[in-house]
Symmetry: C2
């Protein structure tokens, strides 16, 4: 069980006990976060960033950690999210393994890591934990909450559960509920991990580790995070050079696209805890902003109180398709929010917000400037 905590992380303890939506409570739990810029005297310039499933809180470099972050081109002095103007907070998700408490963390009641004894985790729990961080940092009301992918779900739960916590909201490639295609993909990813004998009902260690299952899960993830269109242009039918091929196994790596997936997977499997992956993945399946308020998704969205909102998505996203960002904008609008949906022609699919900064950056900056 390994946690992967970026240097320069800061921490805020959650209330103990910290009750979870589906039952149970955490004791002595904490949230990892990083910040950029400074909070104004009137506290009105704070932005909260909620991440996808796997990133840590290190969205960009800062004095405490000079390594580039996962949104380095988006965030910093003079960048699209300009940290000379905005005080930016990014939290590592509750349930993750990158500083915030999750299944890989030590359970203070037993002195061993939680593993499958971690209580069932929901998107709403992540929202409650993030809200606590915001309050603890002295922010009464966020100028904007930005949520990417899973973070888009957490952001909507946050707005629903803490009316008035934010003036603006940018939902990037997010969703107000999980739909069956993405549930099916995630279910298969979890099955790959759980079928690996080395997963061992969550009782693996660094020597006996569900590497094959994690590799399969990650490859399937990468397939659904990008797009066929991008890959046609990027890989086509190009083969690996002979010196990069191993043996003459007809089922071995032969095409560039196979090698690309393998490389991505190998970089990931030892850097994310498998049990944490299972918990965060399942939390997304369970999410439906409508169910939480005993209505439809549309009703759930219409009850969210935020002044202005922008939902951004791309046409090539198969995991969180553009219809889901349109649903968010339509639902918020129906509740009186000044909300719009922006559909971008990025070819990179779900992951476009990480790489197509040329399109996402101006959209994000434009919205922030207008607040």
């Amino acid at each position: 069980m390994t946690e992967f905590i970026p240097p320069g992380s800061r921490f805020i303890d959650l209330p103990s006990p910290f009750p979870l939506k589906r039952g149970g409570a955490l004791h002595g739990a904490r949230m990892a976060y990083e910040t950029w810029g400074a909070l104004d005297a009137d506290g009105g310039n704070a932005i909260l960033i909620l991440t996808g499933l796997s990133p840590d809180a290190h969205a960009a470099s800062h004095a405490g950690n000079r390594e580039p972050g996962w949104w380095e081109s988006m965030l910093g002095p003079g960048k699209y999210i300009d940290t000379r103007r905005w005080f930016v907070i990014c939290v590592n998700s509750l349930g993750s393994c990158k500083g915030s408490t999750g299944p890989a963390s030590i359970d203070p009641d037993t002195g061993r890591s939680y593993r499958l004894d971690f209580p069932e985790l929901s998107v709403e729990d992540g929202a409650d934990a993030a809200a606590h961080v915001v309050r603890a940092l002295g922010v009464e009301r966020l100028a904007c909450v930005i949520g990417n992918s899973m973070g888009g779900m957490v952001a909507l739960a946050l707005l629903q559960r803490f009316p008035g916590i934010a003036h603006g909201h940018i939902n990037i490639s997010g969703a107000a509920r999980a739909l069956p295609f993405s549930i099916a993909i995630r279910s298969l990813q979890r099955e790959a991990i759980r079928l690996d004998p080395q997963w061992n009902l969550g009782e693996y260690d660094d020597d006996a580790y569900p590497e094959a299952g994690m590799r399969m899960a990650r490859k399937l993830g990468v397939i659904t995070y990008r797009s066929a269109l991008e890959w046609d242009g990027r890989f086509g039918r190009v083969r690996l050079d002979a010196d990069r091929r191993v043996g003459d196994d007809p089922f071995g790596l032969e095409f560039e696209v196979e090698s690309y997936l393998e490389g991505h997977a190998r970089r990931f499997v030892r850097r994310f805890d498998p049990n944490c992956y299972l918990y965060l993945s399942r939390s997304m399946d369970w999410f439906d902003l409508g169910e939480s308020c005993h209505g439809t998704c549309e009703e759930g969205l219409s009850k969210v109180r935020v002044n202005r909102a922008l939902a951004i998505g791309v046409y090539t996203d198969i995991l969180f398709p553009i219809e889901q960002q349109q649903e968010i904008a339509d639902g918020l609008l129906a509740g009186g929010t000044d909300a719009q949906c922006l559909a971008l022609p990025s070819p990179q699919g779900h992951d476009a917000f990480l790489v197509d900064i040329a399109r996402f950056g101006p959209a994000v900056r434009g919205f922030l400037d207008s607040l």
Copy 2:
């Protein structure tokens, strides 16, 4: 190693040796086929059907096998492919386990099943074998060759390698080359099988069988054979009733879509030989009609000699996207074929041709009537 041969199958021996495109040769190989209707005196009413990866030659019921076939609603007396008018041949693919010779068959040179000693299989080999069946049945020139999915690849290879073998061609949800998204999906399916310890480098048996790997592969297949749109309407976020759930495992089957995948997979895993699956799957990755003639895919298509062609696809197909059927029609047209592409609004994705007979049937009949 099990073959699954429908009752009422007929067989034609292939020439021995039967050389394969990528090297090696088969000895004593045979093809399973079924027919419907009767060949005209002038031999001008023959239609050949080439299937997707997994179906057998039992496309529809007949006197020798009253069980409904996989295209029962399409094919028969008075149906869209009217067997009172047409003499219809369907072959089981070379390399399959449903009567034609494949990795699950006995190698006469050794007396044991080929398993991984089967030579590398290509789409072109399947075309050569199908052409032999057509000739052996006394058909000089087909009125039409219909290829579905993988069969669409085989059909194009057949037309390329045997100029003049058919007057007309219907390519259904097929492709003239494999693109990286589908290569990636198939690569992951094969990896799931090969990672299963019970696959055992192909040396499994009924007791030690790579069931988990086959189940994963099939689930991923089903995910890519259907569409998110269809599943939204069909499953939404509906949960299984309590009496269909097992225990309280948070990662167990909970959503209808998870149960649907599980059911599909369980029905499949013991009915298709894993090694055959690997060989047929890889043959599709290797296929590019351009490479076979040392040119681009467009050039390959423009050299195909067939009088009239119809490429049919659906907008919701993510595995063989509609652009690939358009590519077929455009390429054939450039070579002088009277070719068209028909894009159908079926919600069922790649599998639509199996279930949306209300749309596919009239399109197929219309083309056949016009020949």
